[in-house]
Symmetry: C2
Subunit: 160 residues, 2 copies
DNA sequence: AATCAAATCTGCATATTTTGCAGAAAATTA
DNA sequence: TAATTTTCTGCAAAATATGCAGATTTGATT
């Protein structure tokens, strides 16, 4: 017996996708407006949307513009872990750091990718120094993001 | 005479930062709740928040979990542009593609970084082929994201 | 195919939130 | 200091969210 079915792609129907699309456009769209656009009752829109959020299918987040808010150094750091067995542990440590906005393990030449927002170049240098001394971090390569052209959500229509 | 003052870091006060913090935690937090937490009137919270959004300082977006929603291939593509003068033009073209969730110019070895969400590996291959034939794209290097450990917003407290 | 159980949807009444606006307070400028 | 602009507050009206009971649909089992 399964008490709570975890959502996976196959359990998302057209209505779910339509709600996700609405939220991608405007994370503060009201239940009422979503319901009207999709021709369902407010209750339905609310139930679905709340479940999508609870199940972690979508997160409604406020994303600050790093420049406008004062993060002068937005960067990408490639992290090489040796021995490779320490990867999870290193990831755990790095994910705690407040500057980190994105952290993932990768298939490529390096093992972990860390995106960070720092106040200034010197703060960034400090940050890179800090992660360089974590046990298991063998090497790092830092790349600055100069100009962000797009920061959006992929078109869910691609999944149809 | 300046009719509309563009916001820059120095014009954001403590209340603005406090509102941004609330929205980073929950993009759907109501004006009322924000007002109560910060001990200001609802009208003030509303005016500030709307202005922060209008000025592009923060965007409230629904971010879907690529795995759960059916994007089986989440990847990072390093793009080398030759001649370098075509960079803006290439960026413009790539930013139109629906798979692209992030696009920025960088300081490093490569010129542009493109993050994409594709349905499958074959869709990703197709995508990489498509951008490889764009005029000015000299070379690409694709790295898959295997596991995302963190996808959050940086701590605004770092700016204090 | 019929039945039952579980899940989902709808619509309504109530509670809460948002919106528009006018006047008070604060900040800015001359 | 006075004038001007900007920001804040509080109130009433409109819009929205919430809780819930009953209807509908879906899915599993026989």
């Amino acid at each position: 017996m399964i008490s709570h079915m975890e959502k996976n792609p196959s359990t998302l129907d057209d209505l779910d996708f339509a709600i996700l699309s609405c939220l991608q456009k405007d994370g503060r769209m009201s239940f009422t407006e979503i319901a009207e656009r999709l021709n369902v009752s407010v209750g339905t829109a609310r139930t679905r949307l709340n479940r999508l959020i609870d199940d972690g299918i979508i997160s409604i987040i406020g994303r600050v513009d790093p420049d406008k808010v004062g993060f002068g150094a937005y960067a990408h750091i490639a992290v090489y872990v040796r021995p490779a067995t320490l990867k999870e542990q290193v990831a755990e440590t790095i994910s705690q750091l407040p500057e980190v906005s994105f952290l993932a393990s990768t298939s490529g030449e390096y093992d972990l990718e860390v995106d960070v927002m720092c106040q200034s170049n010197s703060h960034l240098v400090q940050f890179v120094n800090d992660i360089s001394v974590i046990e298991g971090v063998y090497q790092t390569k830092t790349t600055l993001y100069f100009k962000v052209y797009k920061y959006a959500q992929p078109d869910l229509g691609l999944l149809k």
